[in-house]
Assembly symmetry: C2
Homo-oligomer: 422 residues x 2
């Protein structure tokens, strides 16, 4: 057997065990799952020195490969960080269990009792990048919602992830949850990701978490259903009728409070009727925060330091202290810009006009629409979901921040007394 | 330009218009959509002779091609059938509009008002087989839920479908709904289906309605998210503790009341403890209805006319007067059989034991689980949804009969008074 075939065989072996574990995990009550989560948290804290040691190997290799300090920081684990990860697992244990919830129910005219109840999805594949905390966060959210996690992290974090999964599996051995409920996809080759993407029938859904190129390649190649997450080209639209102080605050917060995340603003659109009053103030506030503005001709007329904007700027998810800026003649033109260039994540309007707010909400086709609030609020924790597995930017199954209920499917249960159809 | 390129260009032109129409259609209120549905129903009745004439062309070609009378019947339209189709459109107008419904809402601790509301999916592609009534049914359900329908029926019904869509588009021209809200995919070649499957970004979801091979090819080739529908290898499990009269009634109803549909039973599993009492009665009742039983060795010991069952029989969606039969040693073995061979559509248990019913419901991972009721009840009309676009056998987005709410996504609307994140 070639090495490639062997890797594929090994993948299928792991995936089949995952599917079996999913059948065992699905009917377990909340108490069993919460006990398993606490066992995992305890084990992580106890094994923290071992995890740090494994992580040092990854960090050393990353340094040798010339990785930026920013990425090294994301990759690094310390005892304190591991304790925070364990605390997050305990936090997931406190969240309500979505499984078994009755979504709707009725008695049909013929006396049949109809109930639609939440059930786990089954096996959830997660493909992610450098941060090893995702390994534990994703496993905990999957476990709580009765799903088996098939994890495929970055090869740069392979040693850390291997240690984390081994510790979680060991912890599960003392609980009602099968150890195979948390699985690492074997191997670090590009092929190993493909096995996961082609495992229709064994894996129920794939959630890629990362940059646009990772997500696009999964969408193109996967036969397993995919939930797209996280690409955010978010816009703030400042309407003709807007409180200028509020507009500046929201714009600066949305752009600069944490520029590297998907709900940061990447574009500002300003109604022409307020441009004279707003744009100079906005440029000044952004300048003070070190933001480079890429503006159209009308924006450039307000500041010499505004860089000319290209089509690429309108499309960009900068994740940096850059922003595209444009003056538009109407709310409808702002919406048209967002439809043409946005990623469907989050858009905000700043306005004192109720009709304008209503119209913007109705016309903008994004996962979240903010009225007089920063785009930064699109987040599972902020929305009160307790935790999130990602932010969906697609329309099917889940849209916006995905909490535990979004990790479930449903099942109809129909109870009769010998009902037959006439 | 080659003919192929020209077809692709034409497809993209139509799909782009569909996307524009979706933006216009999405914010329309219920009254505008209902008025458009009535206009369509009126136009269909008025144009019935023209539709029948177009349909005659399709029927003639099908006869020349040696199509079975059963399929010819499915293809054929009469004035009476067109009136029934129009009545179904008026029925859709009476259903509640899911768009705008608040799915959940709360005021967050910081005062932000959070609402999750239903919005249309956008452009819905439907790939289906011979019956031209699907053209109108699907268009009506999409329109009511604020979605544009991109329809791709069988080439055998192309003339009928072309006439139906032209009449619907003409009817829409007098309404607030854009005529492009109902579109036929141009061309009848296999390539034209591929254009639809590759139209990610223009088409939001694809719903294939038809046999397993159609659905599999869509699942394999589509980059547009797919909702699998309709393949039904449904099982009836007769538990050790069962009312035998009820078990015979449910089995015969599930198998024979309409054998050609996806919720008909294709397998019967009998607990060994009741086999002596039940199997002979079941065989007699099935024999009386002309059903061929494909049984394992234990079932064959009860009847000389039982045909030996193969693995293929356990997997088969017969859609005919055939059924696979097996004696199992436990409820768990019945569940294992269903997990191994079933299609995840509908399974039924016949039992007088409450613990057995509870356990079967918990362990069976199908879209619908019936307790003491026929599998035939898995149906949008029967479930009280008014109408259905299909029955999903996948876990993502929708599972089981899909009514109007399943043709929607959601959007979060967050309202503040200048909220920024600290």
């Amino acid at each position: 057997m070639s090495e490639q075939d062997a890797e594929r065989e090994e993948f299928l072996r792991v995936a089949r065990r995952a599917k079996e574990a999913a059948a065992q995990l699905a009917p377990l009550p909340r108490a069993a799952k919460d006990a398993a989560l606490h066992a995992i948290a305890d084990a992580l804290v106890e094994a923290a020195p071992r995890i740090v040691k494994a992580n040092e190997g990854d960090v050393e290799r990353a340094r040798e490969a010339g990785t930026s300090e920013y990425m090294i920081d994301r990759l690094s684990l310390s005892v304190a960080r591991i304790e925070a990860i364990a605390a997050a697992v305990r936090q997931v244990a406190t969240l309500p269990d979505p499984v078994g919830e009755t979504v709707r129910g009725s008695v049909l005219p013929n006396g049949l009792e109809l109930r639609q109840i939440r059930v786990p999805l089954g096996v959830v594949g997660i493909i992610y990048e450098g941060r090893p905390n995702v390994t534990v966060d994703a496993a905990a959210l999957c476990l709580k919602s009765g799903n088996v996690a098939m994890l495929r992290g970055s090869s740069s974090a392979f040693e850390s992830n291997t240690a984390l999964v081994a510790i979680m599996q060991d912890a599960l051995r003392g609980t009602a949850v099968p150890a195979e409920a948390v699985q690492l996809v074997p191997g670090t080759s590009r092929e190993s990701v493909k096995h996961l993407m082609r495992a229709r029938g064994l894996v129920d859904v794939l959630i890629p978490r990362g940059g646009a190129s990772l997500i696009n390649s999964v969408v193109q190649e996967s036969t397993v259903p995919v939930i797209e997450t996280g690409v955010g080209n978010c816009a703030v639209y400042v309407d003709a009728a807007a409180d200028l102080d509020m507009a500046v605050d929201i714009l600066v917060n949305a752009k600069t409070q944490r520029p590297s995340v998907c709900n940061a603003a990447e574009t500002v659109l300003v109604h022409a009727g307020i441009a004279d009053a707003f744009v100079p103030r906005a440029l000044e506030a952004l300048r003070a925060k070190g933001v480079t503005v890429h503006g159209d001709e009308r924006v450039r007329s307000y500041g010499d330091d505004v860089v000319p904007a290209t089509e690429d700027d309108y499309r960009a998810e900068y994740l940096s202290l850059d922003i595209a800026a444009r003056v538009v003649d109407s709310l409808e033109d702002a919406v048209a810009h967002i439809r043409a260039y946005g990623s469907g994540h989050t858009e905000a309007i700043v306005t004192t006009s109720q009709p304008a707010a209503k119209r913007f909400v109705a016309l903008v086709d994004s996962a979240a629409v903010m009225v007089n609030a920063s785009t930064r609020f699109t987040d599972g924790e902020e929305f009160g979901f307790g935790a999130e597995i990602g932010i969906s930017t697609q329309k099917l199954h889940a849209r916006g921040p995905m909490g535990l209920p979004e990790l479930t499917s449903t099942k109809y249960v129909v109870t009769g007394d010998g009902h037959t159809r006439g």
